[in-house]
Every structure is written in structure tokens, then in C-alpha cells.
Symmetry: C2
Subunit: 226 residues, 2 copies
DNA sequence: TTTTACACTTAACACTGTTAAGTATCGGAG
DNA sequence: CTCCGATACTTAACAGTGTTAAGTGTAAAA
């Protein structure tokens, strides 16, 4: 009889219900302000019911993060097709920043709160895999840029360069997120601002005698692999 | 009789005692993990005693932040004497990063956690004053660099450039702080790393035909005002 | 019909920041 | 010396948190 299958189906259904309710709450009020009791109330179960599906509060958030980060990864796979590593870097920067601003709570949890000796097996994201891990993607792209002689000769350390690029975009994103309502900083429009950040960083590492960076965004260069 | 003076003296003494104990705890285990009860236990008073000296837990941290940020401000005043705005920018970047890593909990509270419609009169830091507000300092320096024609012509918006520079250094600092123990990113030595970040950012905004950036750090240029 | 497995709830624990109400101390006034 | 009132502090509690041990009801299996 399919009773065990039905049970299983009901179980994943409730799990999904929890995740949906939790996502709505997290997005609305942020991680700290969401309580297990509120999630429970939203799905009309007791708070303890959640613990039958998730180890703890962090695990609920982790599950949401993973799901959304896989969407980012999907976009990265598209960007991976861009032939020119510099243009690829630029596009990855945009995608990353856009994702972060669309999912500020996830981003905050993953990149702005220090994790204790965090067991990595909890996360579905496979580090080092450039299709899933943003840092690995940048690292790979930088390595290619170095191999192609596109960077200034003093930047021969891919790890270092990747960290610089990541720092710039992450810095912009996180400042934007935490200090967006401060009256004493006159923020420029998002689009223009992140463009400038990426522009500055790329021209800071690029060989000065190379083709101007901007040119690669237009049609004078092969953009995607055949 | 000096009894009222003695009372007053005892009051500031206890206030100091609270701050000292709180600082030690905050530094050791971070803001979240410190409880009012633990601070109270450290000074051998009841938890409520703290509330006679500080409005709430945040106010205790705020007082510590202010005190330490004034030290950073002092260093900024020295750096303000550097004549060349580009070199000034570089030195401010180092000072900022060094400060952040020395006071990670303060930095986290001030630049990595979003403040609700925070009443600014609580803070002793005067925004817009370049001797106290790091952003104002950067803004002023960038304005001077623009006025002197040191930046690429497309970077004529001081706010935008200041935000770029701040993003880069803040990004480096905050990534370093939150992701320093991650096994999947091979961090380079701090000194070398922050140097590279500043180097890239500055050469990304600098006129390409200008004097090489590095030259200004050495003795071929007047460094301090007379 | 009884047993057993399972999903779920109730009630509680050990915390948190914060506060209302009570107490002890001590200088000054009568 | 006695009483008053201000001041500094403590006790006990509130309302909330994440989390868990123990109890309940249901439905399939024996």
C-alpha cells in the first residue's frame, strides 16, 4: 500500500510549508526578528513541529539560503560561457551584487555573520566547484586572465587578485545594505555605483597597455563561446 | 563638604568599571554572547546596577565604540597633515583597516549591523566632521584629489569615488573578519593583502599619465605640511 | 484486538534584556 | 539624637527567546 509514500509526501509538504512561511518572514523582518513560534503560528502548527523537520533555527535559514544560492549558481553557469575572462569577471560582479541586494537576509547570513566552527556538510553548496561557489568562480576567471596576460605583471597571484575583487564587490554590497539609510552618506544610484566599483577594480588590475576594458562589453569581441 | 563630589566620583568610577569589564567581555566573546548578567557578575554588582549608568546594553557598547573611535580619529588628524591627497588616502586606508581588525566587535557593531532609525544624538561622533567621521575624511581627500586633477576625468563625483574607496577597504576588512577561518579560501598575509586592495583601488581611479602612485610614499615628494 | 510506530502537542527549562518595587545607607534638618 | 528624604543599589519579576523531554492521539501492522 502507498501509505508510506503518502506519509513521505506529507512530510515534504510540511517541510515546504515551513520553508515558505519562514522565507516570507525572514525577508520581511530579518533573521533575528523571526522566532520559531512565529513560524509555527504562520503554518498553524506548534513550534516543536518545526524541529521534526529541521535541526534548529539556523538550519531553516540554511535550507533557504542553499535553495536561493543555487539560483545564483545557475546564473553563474551562463556567465561561465563568456569567453573573455575580464568581461566574465564584470558580469559575475553584477550578478553577485544583484543577487545580494535581492536576498539581503540570505547574504547577511552567509557573508556578513561569522560562523562558528561550522560543519560544512550542512550546506548543500560544494566549495571549490566554480558552478556553485562564487569565490571558486572568480578564482578560476582570474587564473585565466593571468594566463592570458591580461593583468599587470605584479598581479600574478590568483588567490590575492580574487580576494581583491571579492572584497570590492562585497564591500559595496554590505555597505549598501547596512548603511543605506544613513543621512550622512549621499548614496549614488545603485546601477551607476556598482558599475563604478567594478570599473575601478578591473582597471586597477588590468594591464594599462591592454585593450580598454569598456570595449569588451560591446560587439568588437567574441563574447560567448561557440 | 565634598560628599556630593565624592558621590559623583564614585559614580564615574563605577561607570568606568562597567566599561572596563564590558570591553574585556565584548572583545573576548563578541557582542551577542555578552549578557548584562555576565557584566554584572564581573564587577560584582547586580545586573540592574548597570541600568543606573547606561540606558541599555547597546548604550554600553556605544560608549566603548565612541571611546575607541576617537582614538582612530586622533590618528586621522595626524594623517590629515599629509599633503598629497593620494598618499593621504592610502594612509587612511591602512589606518582604517588596522583599526577595524584591532576592534572587530566595535567595527562589526558600527559598520556591519544595520541600525534601526537610530537616534544620532546618542553617539559622540560628529558626522561630517572629517576629524571624527572616517567617511567625511575620505570625501574631503577625494575632493582635493579631484581639484588637483589627480583622478581620471570620468571620476568627477567625489561622493561616488569616496564610496568606491570605502567599499574596497570595508569589503576587505569585513570579509577578513567573517570568513577568516574558512578553509576554502586561501587568505594571503594581511599586510600584503590590504596593500594590494588599496593599490588596485587607487590605481583604478588615478590618471594613468600621473606620477606613479608608489613614488609618493617615498621621499621624492613633500609628505607633511610645514 | 492488541501492539507498535509515528507525527505532533504540551509543558517546561535555561536563558535573554529590561523594569517595578523594595531596601539599605547616609547627609542634613529639626 | 531623631527623623526625613535623597540616593544607590538589590530582589523579584515580566515577557520573550531557542530548544527539549515527556505525553497524546492516530493509524498501520501483527
Amino acid at each position: 500500500m502507498g501509505t508510506v509514500e503518502r506519509r513521505e509526501r506529507e512530510k515534504v509538504e510540511l517541510r515546504k510549508k515551513i520553508l515558505d512561511a519562514a522565507r516570507a518572514l525572514f525577508v520581511e523582518v530579518g533573521y533575528e526578528a523571526v522566532t520559531m513560534r512565529k513560524i509555527a503560528q504562520a503554518i498553524e502548527y506548534s513550534p516543536t513541529a518545526i524541529y521534526l523537520h529541521f535541526r534548529d533555527k539556523k538550519a531553516v535559514m540554511q535550507a533557504l539560503c542553499d535553495a536561493d544560492f543555487l539560483k545564483l549558481a545557475k546564473r553563474f553557469r551562463k556567465i561561465a560561457e563568456v569567453v573573455d575572462p575580464i568581461e566574465r569577471l564584470r558580469q559575475a560582479g553584477y550578478a553577485y551584487a544583484e543577487f545580494a541586494l535581492r536576498h539581503p537576509n540570505h547574504y547577511r547570513l552567509m557573508f556578513m555573520t561569522p560562523h562558528p566552527p561550522h560543519p560544512p556538510e550542512d550546506s548543500a553548496i560544494e566549495h571549490g566547484n566554480r558552478d556553485q561557489d562564487a569565490y571558486a568562480f572568480v578564482l578560476w576567471t582570474v587564473e585565466e586572465a593571468i594566463a592570458l596576460g591580461r593583468l599587470r605583471p605584479e598581479f600574478d597571484d590568483a588567490q590575492l587578485v580574487a580576494q581583491i575583487v571579492w572584497s570590492a564587490v562585497h564591500g559595496w554590497v554590505s555597505l549598501r545594505m547596512t548603511k543605506c539609510n544613513e543621512p550622512w552618506v549621499d548614496w549614488r544610484p545603485q546601477r551607476k555605483s556598482i558599475e563604478a566599483v567594478i570599473q575601478v577594480t578591473i582597471s586597477g588590475i588590468l594591464r594599462t597597455d591592454a585593450t580598454p576594458v569598456v570595449a569588451w562589453t560591446t560587439s568588437n569581441a567574441p563574447v560567448r563561446r561557440a
